[in-house]
Each structure stands twice: as C-alpha cells, then as structure tokens.
Symmetry: C2
Subunit: 194 residues, 2 copies
C-alpha cells in the first residue's frame, strides 16, 4: 500500500525500519471522485497530499473570472497550496480532481508531528518546495518570454503523461491560449509527422 | 559581525554554542560595489547569499529583450537562483547590486557541508524556499489579476523599505508598467495626501 510514497521519500532520505511505520501511521488515505473540489479560493489549505492515483488541476481566477490553470499533478506528485498550508492563510487557488483520486494526506498537525518525530523529513519537504519553486519560476518566465507554440511543445515533452490525460481546453488554459489555438498546433504537428 | 545572520537563522532553529562557529566558519564574506552583476542568464548560480547590507535586483529578459524585474532583496534577505544553485543548471535570471553590498555567502559545497554537520539547517532552507515560493505565487497571480495602481499600493505597503531606495523605473519594471505610469500614480497619491 505504501510502496510508492516510500519510494518517493527515499529519493531524499533513508528511513530506518522503525521510522517507516512512524511515518505511514501519520498518513490518512482519502478517495476522491473525479470533478471534486479539493480547495477553493478563500479557504485555508489543510492538506499536503501525495497522489497515489489520479490527476488534479490547480487553477485561479483572473480579473475577468476566467480560470487560469497553474499546474496539473498526477501520480507520485505532492499537491498542496504551500503558502496557505504553512502560514494558515486563505488560499488564492482552486484545486479539483480531473480523475478519481487516491491520496495520502498530511494535515498541519500530522506534518508537524512528523517533523518532530523524524526531523530529517525537513529535507523531503525542502526538496519538494524547491522543485515547485523552480517549476513556478520557469512558468512565470516562459509564459512571458516564449511563443505559445514552443510552450505547447515543451509541455508535451516535459509532461507526456499529463498531456494525454487532460482535456485540451485545460491545456489551453495552462498555456494561456485559446483551445482553438491548441487544436491548430496539434493539427500542424500531426501533419508534420505524416 | 554575525549578529544579524544568527538572528535570522534563530527565527527557524536554535543553535547550540558549539554549532554557531560551525555555521559561521562556513560563511565567506563578499563586498560588492553597486551596479555589479552577481549572476547572468546562462551562468550556474554558485551562491546562496545573505544580505548584510545593500540592495539587489533580480530580473530576466523578455522575448523583446526588455528587463522584467522579478524581485528586489535588501538587508536580512537571502538571495540566490534556487533552481540553478540546487540543480546546478544554467540560470534564466540576472542579479545586480543596486547599492554597495555586504554579503555572507554559502557555495554548493559549504551548504552541503553545513547540512551534513547541522542537519536542522534543512528547516532554515525549507522555510526560506517556502517564503519565496509563496511570494512568487502571489506575484504570478496578482500580476495577472490586479490593476496596476493596486499593485503599486500593495508594493509600497509591503516593502516601504525598498520602494524608497529603488529607482522608479525599476519599480515600474517590477509592476510591468511604464515609468510614466508609476509617476502618474505617485502624483495622484501625493495630491490625495495634501
């Protein structure tokens, strides 16, 4: 049951036989049907979740009320609004499941207990936040500085696993272009491959 | 000499009398005159720097070669391209000093040694990255969703210490507006105050 999450953690730290149940006992499992909101703007994020199965979309609303997709998360990713979770402040984000999901959840309390009991987990969460910061920085810079067609190619190259599972209009909303534009690029690519 | 950086660290962890010199011995001091480039796009960032004195601007070039200011950093802030530093990949960023600066520097090697010697520093760096992620996420969302005048007011409210030290055209480049626009808002505000 815990193989995947333990493999994920073991990329950063080595747990002893004693520590493994100390960690897994703090996790709660959560099955969430697809199209369920995990978080809404204004709510305080109470979870840091490891995705065992499924796909989650993270987005916010722009000044015109349009959804802007910030990220997708699939198996072996952690999902949370880190700012809201750690400082217990209202979130600016929405999170919804795009597929049926199985999650392992840490709450602010169980995460704190985990860090008290096994302090080397600090490293796991540091690495996690670093990766997210790095991805967000890239997204901010590239959204502004790269043509949309290049960003689409980069997206399907970086996340082949996601681009095939997620509806085209969400990918468009991630890239900041219209669904018609994504459709046009796809057709052009298909024509090139033939 | 080390009072400020030790106070900064002590917000996250408690160092023993023995650990303090283990930490400070790993720091190198660097005096940098104003208008010096600390990092250029394409270079690999080799420092995680604590600003003892001075002001640094972090920016990137958009597709038209225009500078977009991503952040300013002043006393008691840490400055680094975390993605480039941690994964030793080329940076997309530029960093330049706006004033004469005094920095305490960790290199990838001394940071690794610090984390080996005093593992609880993981917490310091996790907190640091969390704050940066949170700021960047806010910036990404608000740049898109708030009117420029509101963002200017928010900026001077959040960073009064920075807005008075930094040339107006850099603040404009941070807010993504023209220097004339910042000038107009300032005049309007001054008229209201009178």
């Amino acid at each position: 049951m815990f193989e995947d999450i333990l493999a994920n953690v073991s990329k950063c730290i080595r747990l002893t036989a004693e520590e493994i149940p100390q960690f897994t006992d703090l996790l709660t499992t959560r099955s969430v049907p697809k199209k369920t909101m995990l978080l809404r703007e204004g709510e305080i994020c109470q979870f840091e979740g490891y995705i065992q199965k499924g796909c989650v979309r993270i987005y916010y609303l722009d000044e015109n009320g349009f959804e802007v997709t910030l990220a997708f998360a699939v198996e072996d990713w952690w999902v949370s609004d880190i700012a809201s979770f750690n400082y217990q402040v209202p979130s600016s984000l929405y999170m919804e499941t795009l597929e049926d999901c199985e999650l392992f959840i840490l709450s602010p309390q169980t995460k704190e207990k985990l860090l008290d009991t096994i302090p080397k987990f600090e490293r796991v969460f540091r690495m996690l936040v670093q990766r997210r910061l790095s991805a967000l920085q890239d997204r901010l810079i590239h959204t502004i500085s790269k043509p949309a067609a290049d960003r689409y190619l980069e997206f399907i190259h970086l996340y082949p696993n996601i681009s095939q599972r997620v509806p085209q209009y969400y990918i468009a909303s991630y890239l900041g272009v219209s669904p018609e534009f994504v459709s046009t690029i796809r057709k052009r690519l298909a024509a090139k491959i033939k």
